[in-house]
């Protein structure tokens, strides 16, 4: 990939141009978006105090800490001013409550159905109807939040952690290390995650743990590319040179000097990845290799009932579909506003 789309024009579009919206399958090795603009709120607040890399006097460190806190508070205040952030957070909070509350919130038992009430239409007894086994759809949608909200964030965290290390190594060392790893990353990017995930989960056998591992590791190359881009522009700065001249070790410079300065894109990447993890895991569950029955997972519910829509039994499919749609859109709204604020 040679193109560097839309790096210009960003400056003139302060209201979080949706173009640089993170919701994208677009895999573009350059990904200029976050990398150059991270020096937003956090850094500008820090710049005055923290050109000092190694062994700063205590007072400077303390000042840096206060500045960092102030910057964080400012970021949060900016976020709260964005309606899409507030809406996204409320929806996610709702599903998190369902995930935690689970059985306590569900009006009926999500696992055992009434054999005389199969495919009952939505009504006063079953608000969202029942499925083919007579199980309450509302209760299943509520308790179905748990697995995906556990599995998706953990795999996103693994992906971001591994990807960050990879990206730091690639961006810091450059040269042959970077060339070789870049080729491997690019090969991974030519495969949609759900497609390789399907193969890997068939081989490993599907379970929540294998799903977490597979999705996490498949996300790592994507994250690595973003982090690498951020590190590349960072490593030329004076503080990195200074640390190098002082004889600091490579791991120290990567993790203690560069890493704190690229947290912006990493945080954005983490939120974006959580959205994608939900997307991917729902798809894998739908394909039968993700979260396994008897879990009332949304993707599973849809896969068990989709062939019945055309017979008029739409409720066991449409309601979990709405649940997935609302959750991924909410996470993306949050990711979007985070990117807008952090790259301002």
């Amino acid at each position: 990939m040679t193109s560097t789309p839309n790096s210009p024009g960003r400056g003139g579009d302060p209201v979080g141009d949706p173009v640089e919206n993170p919701v994208t399958h677009t895999h573009d090795l350059t990904e200029p978006t976050v990398a150059e603009t991270v020096h937003g709120v956090i850094d500008s607040a820090l710049d005055e105090q923290v050109p000092v890399p190694a062994g700063p006097p205590v007072s400077a460190a303390a000042a840096a800490l206060t500045a960092r806190k102030a910057a964080r508070r400012e970021t949060f205040r900016l976020l709260l001013r964005r309606p899409e952030f507030v809406i996204g957070t409320l929806i996610v909070a709702f599903w998190v409550a369902c995930a935690i509350g689970g059985r306590a919130l569900a009006p009926k038992d999500p696992f055992t159905g009434d054999p005389f009430q199969t495919h009952a239409s939505p009504g006063s007894e079953y608000w969202l109807g029942t499925d083919r086994l007579g199980r309450d759809v509302l209760s299943r949608v509520i308790s179905g939040a748990r697995d995906v909200l556990l599995v998706a964030p953990i795999s996103a965290v693994i992906g971001v952690a591994v990807g960050t290390i990879l990206g730091l190594v690639m961006g810091y060392f450059r040269g042959p290390t970077d060339d070789i790893l870049s080729r491997i990353v690019e090969a991974f990017l030519s495969l949609p995650v759900a497609v390789v995930g399907l193969l890997a989960l068939v081989v490993l056998g599907p379970s929540n743990w294998t799903v977490i591992g597979v999705v996490g590791l498949l996300f790592a190359p994507i994250v690595a590319r973003t982090v690498r881009a951020a590190v590349l522009s960072e490593r030329e700065l004076d503080y990195v040179q200074a640390a190098r001249l002082q004889g600091e070790s490579a791991p120290y410079i990567m993790f203690r000097e560069i890493l704190p300065n690229v947290t912006g894109p990493i945080i954005v990447e983490l939120t974006v990845r959580i959205g994608y993890a939900i997307f991917t895991i729902a798809t894998l569950s739908f394909l039968g290799v993700g979260i396994q029955p008897p879990s009332p997972d949304w993707g599973l519910m849809i896969s068990e009932e989709y062939s019945q829509i055309i017979n008029g039994y739409w409720w066991p499919v449409v309601y979990p579909s709405l649940a997935i749609a609302s959750l991924v859109i909410a996470v993306n709204l949050i990711a979007d506003s985070l990117q807008g604020v952090l790259s301002r």
Binding site: G9, H25, L191, V203, A282, I302, Y306, S321
Partner: protein
């Protein structure tokens, strides 16, 4: 230009090599006795050994990988564990149907995305812009199978205007096939519209704000001419590479869509193979999807470099 082309093709070949290595490594990450898996736990050990010998699965992994590489060159991917048919045959038949669906989806998505994106850019910040951007955003955030269920519910069940199963009668003409493929294609359009529109919008906005556009306007060129000769020409270049990447990912999205709409395509084949643990078919399908992505991005890069004199004459990436 020639240097660039050679370099780019060589890189693609390296990627293909790595791709095959990745797929092979994943497929063999656990030690497995293929013969035993096919024949079941009660088969005689001699029969299992004989089957393993026939399939070549008794060979060391290095030899098996070399055989896979040879297979890629000679287009021979072994036989399906499930049906015993040559993998090549099953993959090519289904790939034809998948390509019909993908081409139809792209023919709908690309013009819609380009027009939508440019239109949004021209009305930046106004209602039309917001609607297009939000729709695209929502569409691309939602998994394909979820979009499909919404469409089946709305267009198939409530309005009853389109067939929900893409199983057209034997020997139907192009028109009938398109009619049957319209609903699955629409679910793909909803998902991929956003990417193309977003990129077209960004490209147009940055071209509109550029110095050359200002110069052209200042020297008295009409708005239509400025748009045609300066803005669109520059705006759509980056969109080409997004279209290419999305073409690759679209084939990935086919997995769920073909399953839902019962399209006899590569995606459904891979899901069935996954259920039956038919690794040769599944790995071949993954490889084909990777190759499609690779070829699409390669073509896009070459097209962009050909359209962009800075790359064409500069010859460095």
């Amino acid at each position: 230009m020639l240097v660039y082309v050679i370099r780019r093709v060589a890189l693609a070949l390296v990627t293909l090599l790595l791709l095959s290595l990745i797929i092979f490594a994943i497929a063999n990450v656990l030690p497995q006795n293929v013969g035993r898996a096919i024949l079941g736990p009660f088969a005689a050990p001699e029969a299992v050994a004989e089957l393993n010998r026939q399939l070549g699965t008794d060979q060391p992994l290095v030899n098996q990988y070399l055989r896979l590489l040879k297979g890629i060159v000679t287009f021979d991917f072994g036989t399906s564990y499930q049906t015993g048919q040559p993998v090549r045959d099953v993959v090519t038949t289904t790939l034809v149907n998948s390509s019909k669906l993908a081409v139809l989806a792209l023919l709908l998505t690309i013009p819609l995305g380009l027009v939508g994106g440019v239109f949004a850019a021209l009305r930046k910040g106004r209602l039309a812009d917001r609607v297009i951007v939000t729709l695209g955003l929502a569409g691309s955030a939602i998994p394909e199978f979820v979009t499909s269920t919404f469409l089946i519910f709305l267009l198939g069940l409530k309005l009853n205007v389109l067939p929900v199963l893409a199983t057209w009668p034997e020997g139907s003409g192009v028109g009938t096939q398109i009619y049957y493929l319209l609903l699955p294609a629409l679910s793909l359009v909803l998902v991929y519209f956003g990417y193309i529109a977003r990129m077209a919008r960004a490209g147009t906005i940055s071209a509109l704000e550029s110095d050359y556009t200002r110069t052209a306007t200042m020297k008295g060129m009409s708005r239509a001419a400025v748009l045609r000769r300066h803005v669109l020409r520059n705006a759509l270049l980056p969109t080409i590479s997004v279209i290419a990447t999305q073409t690759g990912y679209l084939f990935g999205g086919l997995l769920a869509v073909e399953l839902i709409f019962n399209v006899n395509g590569l995606g459904r084949l891979m899901v069935t193979a996954a259920k039956a643990k038919d690794l040769p078919v599944l790995s071949a399908g993954v490889l084909v999807i990777g190759v499609i992505y690779m070829v699409a991005t390669l073509l896009a890069d070459l097209l962009i470099s050909w359209l962009n004199p800075r790359i064409r004459l500069g010859a460095t990436s």
